[in-house]
Symmetry: D2
Subunit: 336 residues, 4 copies
């Protein structure tokens, strides 16, 4: 008997990606999928796909028939929906921002909304698989990480944990347009994004900074991160070019050892050999994060490049990886 | 004293393109520009441009202060606006479909609306410059041609006029996404159009067929045209690959002579030499239409390839060319 | 014990795609891979991939250790290499054009070379899976089809076989740039292909016409096909827009029945419902061919749209499908 | 009588762009153009253009008939060609790197070649128009700036000159593929660059750093710049996202005043208003550099965004601007 998965909000890019991942998963199947705007239609009416899953209304979703429910709703909208899933004692993996930050006050600061289900925050585990694997194995509620923070956190966590990372960090990130979702915005139009490159939300204003601080501040309490996202004319992929100062006594070999200690056996981390930098091509279409380490002439200065597919390791792929961990399936199942 | 031009509807792609063309025109200047949705803003608030023209409400437009008004409104919306301009005895160049078709009944058939200003249709001249130049020189109301028909008509008009074109024609056309305008549609989103190619409105259903019949049927009354538009992942440009049967006694040289007789001195027609085919690159960024002639082994079979920039020769560039003709300016002024 | 596969010529786009497909295949594994230009390097030196398969020289390939050898060489170069594989009594799937056409004279006409292994042509089976499945199940040498003909043949074969296809056909095809391979040509440069669309080899000159005649002429001996390829600014995907005349007494339902009779149970044919047209998005990333049927107002006139991923169903995916058929594996194994 | 311009090396992207700019220039005309590889052909044989300028061999170029010669050769190859032009007492604008750096030793360090014409370095003026305008007005030999340094230098020069720029600077730059030229490299292939983003030459290794030090070190002697170029999937455009520390007592208004003092009247500098960031769209297709200023919460921290069209302000456009300055033409002539 396959694991029964439900998807709430299956018609956005992450929901549709999840529907396809579950469809191909050897040990799980899609029990039901909801859409507020397109209930009664099929996925094949909305996307050029043979996947003709019927979409139902969220209120009609037979939550209790699922072993796990993925929520692909906008933030705020997800809070009560997650509570409903948990009330039915069904495991929830929330792809919105609503259950990533354990502190309701921090949430309010960045998202500008009161958290209506703050009691549930205590049981939610931040779903960065390589960092929180053992907690995730016990979790029944997972806050699936944001796309940008996954690259930055995977690139910096080993360094932070090893105590060699200087607090001042600059992360210059570039994301494909699918990161903006399928909603209708002028900036997401083809003619606007194509043959263009646009910085946006630069200057300590992008909400994803909160997740970087969540993962890194336990090791670097006075973290001072500058994060600059850019809209890139590609469908998928994030590349973060991260400028860091590390303990200047460390050789490149020692730094590579720090990464290898954490990641050498990670199936979804591709540590690049010396001399190579991460590119989108390393990861788009896969659930991997690729990490490159480049030295600068002045001692202690380094550039870490990290890439991922924003809809896979940056969203739906990592969500499936979390499901695999939570349900003791092979962690790579359905992801290669 | 420069010619004073007004633009009604300056914030879509054609309106913005026109504003920039007028701005660079040696003998014209932008007197005013309107926008229903963005009145009070500047063009530089809406586009990444230093052009900071202030946008006013349409009802506040000082029509009488203009020598010529360009209307860049959706069809139907343009009818009464044109009438208002003409009531002020100001010349009008309408970029919508409302004044292209002289027959109100044909208009209703293709556009599904009654024409509220059908009396004005008699004075409107179809603005295909190379075909109607002498009438345009006398015109005070011009229906500026659609983007697709400009390629198809310029490619076939010499052949039709020479009486050598078989009625059965297949035009397989491909257009960049700017042809869909700046309105918010799922199909115009970057992620939907990029790395994709989509036929749409195929099967004798696209409204632009009416303009092909308008120009060609006087010479080929039983014209039987199949027109298949495709959405192409580029910002600008249309390429039409047109399959025709011509009088089989004609040699390639004779066919080229037919084109040369009409176009050899046309500044905006680029007749390609034997062996070359039209590509988007031949014309994007210019007001030109490039035309290539390719033979097939069976006698009388030919492929005509024709390209243009859909926002220039296919819309705003041809509109300025029409203005130049109407006001006896050098026809290429502001267009090179 | 998994099926042992060798790849001769693993560094082009089709060879690399095959290496990855075999890598993920549940019942096959990559025994060895060759490269003339990059022997001694690893795939990960040439592509942004964690696949670090070592490349060996073709002359060092342990052919006899393989159960099946895929050849991804240019045409002409493949002839003797195939003969060598067959001399070792190992099954061969040739992705070049050298073993697609059974008649050495036809080969010479289109490719301009004598066939040095014409004796082997008799045993070669044309690898269009849906058409030749039973012969392929017995084959030890397969000529894997060209990318363009796969779309055109799959779109027309049911109609030709049913005796309802008029000989005159126009196929206007558009292909992504990967179809041109990884060799260094000005036309394949980013700046040349991007924001462009170029017809090429139009006018009964493209070699792939031979494969269309191979598949269709048995049913339509006087086939009169016009085939117009265009270079499209996308990485992957072919869309063919095909204009046909069918027996005018047939209703759309009857035509759909003709297709359904052949394809309803085909795992890799996606017959689109009435009103839908094939787009690249339907198939890119999958081994599918999507087929849409659109009527025109005049009786007997139809447009068939067909799309595929040129590196999957149009090359390496179909090669794996052929391997699955030849070795009695589940036909979809490793392809979903 | 128009200024007579010659182009040595007219078939690369910068040479072709120059040929078109000169063609449209109101006060200059193209006297001759050379190509080593394509002599005897016309530009229209190489590019999809109606510009059918005949290409001659470099040794046949009637240098003395020109008032100004533009050299669009690779570095090293340009040295002796420039010397030959100067020997004929004709003004030279060199678009290679050979005459940008006044110190032959610095040249050798970055470019790995001895400078064979080091005597000419003394008379060469670095062609960053806004910075060196008065020297350029007297120059007969100009070293036209590199594409990347033009953005970085225009963004930082006012700050450096005002004495408020901290030496440590990080410039994260992204360039369209035309910056790599028209030579055949795997990395410039469409399939490699499209849907990808690749850092390259990061880690104080890109030669363009020398020009940043040239312009900024006179004011910031201990400049410590980290420069990270990325290959971006667009045809044209460079965006540099530059992280700087400025004197923390300065308000945003004061910083804007510093920029305005230098640039308020510059026709080709687009100083963006508060709250706006530079994007490619601001400048591609124009000779402008757009500059945005964004504050960070910590005092003294700023992000400067700067964009340009790499073939215009970053190469051929600035070369024409230099010609205009040298020959006392209106500085914007032929550039709008």
């Amino acid at each position: 008997m396959k694991l029964q998965a439900g998807i709430i909000g299956a018609t956005g890019y992450t929901g549709f990606e999840l529907a396809n991942l579950i469809h191909r998963h050897p040990h799980a199947e899609l029990a039901w999928a909801t859409s507020e705007s397109s209930a009664g239609k099929r996925l094949s009416d909305l996307y050029a796909t043979p996947n003709d899953t019927l979409l139902i209304r969220q209120e009609d979703a037979p939550i209790a028939q699922a072993d796990v429910v993925f929520l692909c709703l906008p933030h705020v909208a997800s809070m009560d929906a997650v509570a409903q899933v948990r009330a039915a004692r069904v495991s929830a993996i929330d792809l919105s921002a609503d259950f990533r930050l354990p502190d309701a006050e921090v949430y309010r600061h960045w998202y500008g909304h009161e958290h209506t289900q703050s009691a549930l925050l205590a049981e939610s585990v931040y779903g960065l698989c390589e960092v929180n694997r053992s907690s995730l194995a016990e979790a029944e509620l997972v806050g699936n990480p944001g796309c940008y923070p996954t690259t930055v956190n995977l690139a910096l966590w080993p360094l932070a944990k090893a105590g060699v990372l200087d607090p001042r960090v600059i992360a210059d990130s570039k994301s494909g347009v699918s990161g903006a979702g399928r909603s209708l915005k002028v900036g997401s139009l083809f003619v606007e994004a194509n043959e263009n490159l646009s910085p946006y939300s630069i200057g300590y204003s992008h909400r994803h900074i909160a997740e970087m601080e969540l993962v890194l501040c336990p090791y670097v309490p006075d973290l001072d991160i500058t994060f600059s996202p850019h809209l890139l004319p590609v469908n998928r992929g994030i590349l973060s070019t991260i400028y860091v100062d590390l303990d200047p006594v460390l050789s490149e070999l020692q730094i590579r050892d720090i990464f290898a200690a954490d990641y050498a056996n990670e199936p979804f981390i591709h540590l690049l050999p010396a001399g190579q930098v991460a590119t989108l091509r390393h990861t788009v279409g896969s659930n991997r994060c690729a990490i490159g380490i480049t030295s600068l002439p002045r001692p202690g200065r380094w550039i870490i490049t990290a890439s991922e597919d924003n809809l896979l390791k940056g969203a739906s792929g990592q969500a499936v990886q979390n499901m695999n961990i939570m349900f003791r399936l092979e962690e790579t199942a359905g992801l290669v």
